[in-house]
Every structure is written in C-alpha cells, then in structure tokens.
Amino acid sequence: MKLFAATVVALAGLTLTAAAPPPDATRFPQASMLRLPNGVIVTAQISSDAPIASAAVFVPAGLAQQNAANAGIAAVTAAVVLRTPVDGGKSVSAAAVAAGGDAAYTVDPEATRFEIECQASALPQLIADLARALAAPDPSQFAAARSDVLNAAKSDDNNPAMVAYSMVRQVRYQGTGFAFPQGGRSTSLTRLTVVDMQRFAASYQYGNGTVIALAGALAPGEIDSIAKPFASWPARSAPPPPAVTAEKRQHEIVAHRNVQVPWLAVGFAAPSQFSKDFPTMLVIQALLGRGGDVHAFSFGSSGSAAPPDYVGAYYQYEARPGSFLIFFNGASGDIDAALKQLEDGITRLRGQQLPDELIARARKLALGDYYLSVTSLSDAAWLLGRSAGSPDGVAFEDALAARISSVTPADVQRVARQYLADETVAVVLPVESGR
C-alpha cells in the first residue's frame, strides 16, 4: 500500500529529479535450444558455480483448459503426477526429497509447470521419473491428491486477496477455466473422477507446446538424456484455449468474508507477455506501484503463494489477455483516498504524455524488477522456458530488456488509453457489515 500510494502521489505531480542516463545493458547467459522432431523444446543455461541444477517442465494444459464441471482438475492431476510411484515405490516428490532436492507443480493460466531442483547428476533420472508419471499418473493417488487440493482451495477462500483476485477473474475470463478459483470449488472437486484426471493428463501429451528448461551445472550428455523420455510424445499441437471475450463495461462485485476490514481489487485488461505492448505495461506497473511478480498469486503444490495482506499492483501476463490489478487493504489506510489517487493517476496516464524524466525513472524501475525477478536457478529455468516458448525464442530474455529501455511517453499514453478502462472492482467486506 505504501509503495502504491507513494508512487501514485509521484505520478499525480511530484517534483522530478534530473533524468539519469539510459541504463547499460546486462545480458542473460547464453542459452542453448533444441527442438525435437515432435516439437518438444529443450533449452538450457549452463553454469559451473555449484553441482546443482533446476528444471522447469511446461506442459500445455493449465487452468484455462478446465471447464465449469471440472474446475480444479488441473491442480488435482498435477498433484497425482507428483504422488505417482516411480522409483522403488517412491513417488516423484519423495524421490526428489530423498536426494536433497525438491519437486513441485504450479498451475499456470495455459500450462502446468513441474519444477525439480536437485544435485545436477540426479536430474536426468528424476526427469525421466517425472516423464513416466506424466504419461501414466497413478489412479490410486487420486483421492489423496484431491484432498490436498481441496484443503488448499478452502484456505484460499479465507484469504481476502485471493478472493478479490478470483472475483476479478470470474468477470474478466468468463468462458474459460481461468475464471474459476485456481484450486477449484469444493462442489466441482468432489465430483471429479479418476477418468477426469486421466483425460486431463492425456491433454499434457503434445509435443508442440511442451518446453523443458534447464539451468545449472549440466553437461551436454545430461541434457540429451533429459530430452530422451519426451522424444516419444506425439508430434501434435495442443488446441488453443477458449477465447476470452473482452470486457467492455465496468463491473462492481461484492463478497462477504470473515475479514476484519474491507478489501478491494481494481482489475483492468492488460497485454499478455508476448504482446508488443508488454514492455510498456511493465513501465506502467512501475508508475502505478510495484507489487509482487507474476507468480504472486499462483496455485501449486504448497497451495497459493499470495499472502493474505497483499497490497499494491499485480500484473498477470501469462493469461491471454493479461490483467492488471491493484489491491487495497482497509487496514493500511484510507481506501477512498487511495482509490482517488489511483483514479487521478490513471486519468493523468491517459490524458497526457508524461515527462521524459518520469518515464525514464519508471523504465529503470521496470528493468530493475525484471532483472531482480531472476536470482535462483529455479527463476532462471522459468524465465528461460517462457522465452523458449515465445515467438522470439530464447532471445526474448535480452530483447525484453531492450524493449523496456525504449518505452516512450507516447507508448505509455497509448497503452494506458487502450487498456486502463472498463475496470472490474471486487470488494470483500466483513461479514457483519452486510448482514
């Protein structure tokens, strides 16, 4: 909240300091990229700092591919995969943990992402185990996996920030599975069957759209052996997720929860990550208030990432279209005043070209946020996987930095006019205030 308020105040008319020179370039480490005949992409960034490595395996079925009847199936299927026995009766997760590593899943808007981090020499075997589990998730693990997801989903329902985020998605992503709570609803979860799980797991099996991204101390031979289990996947492309109809009117929706103070999220449409307007939107995010990164609200093995007191901006750019939200917590200050600041800030963004100095500062913040989002091997594997799946390929990483650095005041005004309108306002009120 503080960050947000401070930045919007700046936007509303603060004294600007002198413009700094444009930032020097920093380059991401060189990456290799191999496309198997069936379309699976295997990409790697090698380091020789320590004998550990991280892998992110993206399969092309995620939240958007669910429907109203099976909401929650993406998480349940991923949980079954990690519970599937593969190594002497040990599950994928247990095999990774026993070796000092970790295996986890995250359900993204259009993909399910499995991550494994471990000693580098153990990675090929663990990835082979994962591939086996992906191909044949163990039906006997279904009930336990569903129970895990159900508990995590219930926990989300008590998190006001998650509730507000869910409400905004419900309006803005109608017609796709991304409109439902990420862990599903208890009603849909209890109706799921093993057959639903197997059907969803079958939708992982597309060569085109599957990306294996590796970061760490791996030798070329190890990369080859990691690719091998995926070479037999069918050479076909995943069907595109259902299209979202653009929201052209304002909405205000209200829910009541057991919270002490009101919560509020204002959501707008936003460019998705491979749009030409993406770098400009990152600069707008810096102007309106830096918040968490794109995974701040993700749902995965450990439930949801979002802290219950989340405030500030959140840019979900993995979905198509993306969305941009600002969260307010009644305990952090005067919501009405903060909303007025947001309104004034957006009016200014849309109404006039901002001074070069202010845009230069925002570019620096956006670039800083971009670089600072990649500190661990796991971060590097995720970013590399995203880039490899982009139209630019692995060059996307450096290209995005350059594109952020060249955003102009005119770009900011144009993108603000295009996207920052027709907002959805989600209000979460204490139970007492409505009854």
Binding site: A25, P29, S48, G100
Partner: protein, 463 residues
Amino acid sequence: MIIPRGAIAALALGIACVAGAGRAASAAAPAAAQKLAPGESVLPDGLTMAVRRATLSPTAALEVWIVSPADGYGTSTPGIARLTALSVVATKVNGQSLRDIVHDNGGQLMISVFPSSTEISVLAPGNAATPLAQALLARVIHPAIDDAGFRDAKLRLAEQQAVASTDPDVLLRDGIFNQLFTNGPFHASTYGGPVILKGLGLADAQAFATAAYVPANEIVVAVGGGLDEAALGAQIAQAAPGATQGNVMPVSARAQGQNPPLNAGFADTGGVAVGWAGPAVSDERMSTAMDFLSDYLTRPDYGVVAKAIANDDPRAEFNGQFITLRDTGIFYMTVAAGKRSADATIAAITDAIAPVLRGPLPRGEFDRALAAFRVHTLRDTQTPEELADNYGWYFAQGAPAYAPAATDMTLSGDYYNQAAALTPDIVYEAAKTYLGVKPVIATVAPRPTTPATTSMLVPGGRP
C-alpha cells in the same frame, strides 16, 4: 551454517558470538590473521573484501557487514546499531539518500541487524551494479548521519519495534538468547524498546557509527552474474578509508545453571521455543555436525522434527536451525500457532529428536542424509544474495574460510571437507554433547482479544 534469506530477514533479532561455559569472551578486530576464503583479501587499512562472479542471475548482491554490538559499546543500549544503520541509509548527501539512489536504480536495499553484526545490502540489477556499488561504499564505508536522516530512522525503528513486538518467532528467539546469556549484545533484543529509543539522540547514532564503522570491523562483499571483478575490486580499494582502531566487542556471558521457562510476552499467536548452546565456530568438526543435525531435524518438509510437528498439527508453524557463532553456537526450535500446549509441544520435540540421542544413525540412513545435507546446503547458497550473506556471516564469526559459499564444482573448501569427513559417530557425539542436555525454554502467549467497543451498552463491551 547456512543463513537462508528468510532467516536473515526474520532474524532481525540475532545471533553472534559468546563466551564459553561460565566465561566471558570478547571478539577482537575480526580481520586479524584470519584464514580467508578464495577471492577474499584484506586492504592495508584492515577492510576485507570478497568479490565473486557467480550464478546465472542478472543481478548483483552488494553488501557491507559491520562487526559491532547491537546494543552499543558502553552502557547497554539495545537498538542503537539498528538505529544507526537506518540513519546512515536515510541521510541525504547532495539531496539523495542511499535509499533514494537504490530505489531510483531499480534495486532493493535491506538492513539486517544481528547481536554482533550489522548488514547493509543492496540487491542491484546487473545494469546498475557499478553505480550502486559506488553509492553503497560512499555511504556506508564513510558514514554520515544528519538530523533529518536520524529522525527518519527513529520513525522507522519505532514501526519495526511495533511489528517485532507481536511476532512470536522474534519474541521466542529473543527469549532463547535472553535465557542463554546474562548480558552483552546477545542478551537483549536488537530492536530495543520504545523507552530507550525515545531517549536516543543524533549524537548517540553518530558516536556509534564512529566507533563501529571502521575498516577493521568491515567486509565488503560483491557477488553477481556479470561483475567485472577487477574493476569492482579497484572500486572498493579506492573507497576504503584510512585505518582506524577497531573497538572490542563487549562480553556476552553464558548463563549458568538451569533457568525456569521464560515468558517472553504476548504475540499474535502463542508459541514455545527450546534452545541449546553449541560449539564455537572454531570447532569446525562439531559445528558441521550440528549443521547436519539441524538439517536432519529441522529442515521444513524434510527434518524429522519438522515433519513430526506438521503431521500432528498442520497449523503449527515450526522453525529451527543451528546458528554458527564465533564462541558459542545456538541450536533452537520454535513452534507457534499450534493447537498443543507448550508442554505437549516440548514433549513432541523431545520424542522426535530421541533417535539421534540413542546412538549413531544407521550407516545407510546416515549416507543418504549426508548426501541430502550437501545438496540442501548448495541449494541454500545459490543466489547472489545468499552467497554474499554467507561470506558476510562467516567473516563476522571470524571464520571466513569456513563459509559454505567458499566452494566450487568439486566441493572444495573447508566446509565441504568437514562435511565429507562426518561419520555417524561424530554426529552422535555432537548430538549427545549439545542436545543431550536440558534445553532452555521460552514461551509467548496469544495477545488477549480486545473488545471491539468499550461501551457498557453493547454486549461484549468493557464494563
């Protein structure tokens, strides 16, 4: 010991060096004749520096660690180190504070205060590493504090005190240290309290900076993906001030005998902590064995105590670790927000650690756990920030070459050599010696619920 970022952030509370049983200890200027880690060097004025190009990250961790007592050099003044660090980063020179400069360059500034050291760090985007290193060195190696910066710091510290005073983990850890030491920087909270804060003035912070921020007490660490090591080294050397006599760390005496459980106050939730005194860092064999035990017992989702607590009560928040310190390490565990009573929680912890006290681990289990321990340690020291923290921490404990971060692909270095030499018998010896004694105990109680109204006319209102 590895200091995960979470621990450092939460820790705020601290750790550090202490005396052996029944004796008082003092830390001399840390740079004196220490075995350094590869990549570290000491400049003529006593300033130590470590520069390492590492990781795939397009960021750089730039840190200055100042070995100094959190409660000051004379009369114990808890909070003075934190207040000084906050003042240094808030004071404007040529219209900009260090905080402003870091923010404007897209970086992040962090301050962590431990009982015997202060860390001021910048996480810099790679493109801004050079100007941010320059700013950090200028402002911290040559500290200046003015009235406006001091007032800003005082407000921030008051806010931090308020937050810390409700955090069960902070209170419990403070309680354990308070139990294990009778005086000195390890006895008191690094936050201090509102009464002392109110009485502190600009001159106090300036005097502390003059005494503590001297080259012999400091290490500058830079770790990052795209660093020009030679240029950065030259930049640090150029910024180094003249030699100044370092001050001696005040004594923290170990408590004798067994104290009754300490009630550490009220927090957002109730909780209990147990703590044991461990070996000095100079006993690298035992310290490494304690790290192994810490991993085996307390690592989240893996350690046997962590899992035992979670299995019985998924809502309970468990934390634990061995903290490597110059003179006496500390092994502690905290459980907050659980449904069980303090006594039942302590009994559950006692049951869970019993197998390591009964005898050496079976060879197969030990070998598996040792391999996992090594991988955990590598994973916990992988980001520029984690690596830099690790160099800084072990410098502050007077054992820079023993830092786990000081290794390579072949796992060379003192730490991994010690890990490779561990045996089930050595680990059992460490467990028996240090965890086989009765722990000190601290508890916190949930804060009483305040009625929403004081009206006598509303049900539930205060009469």
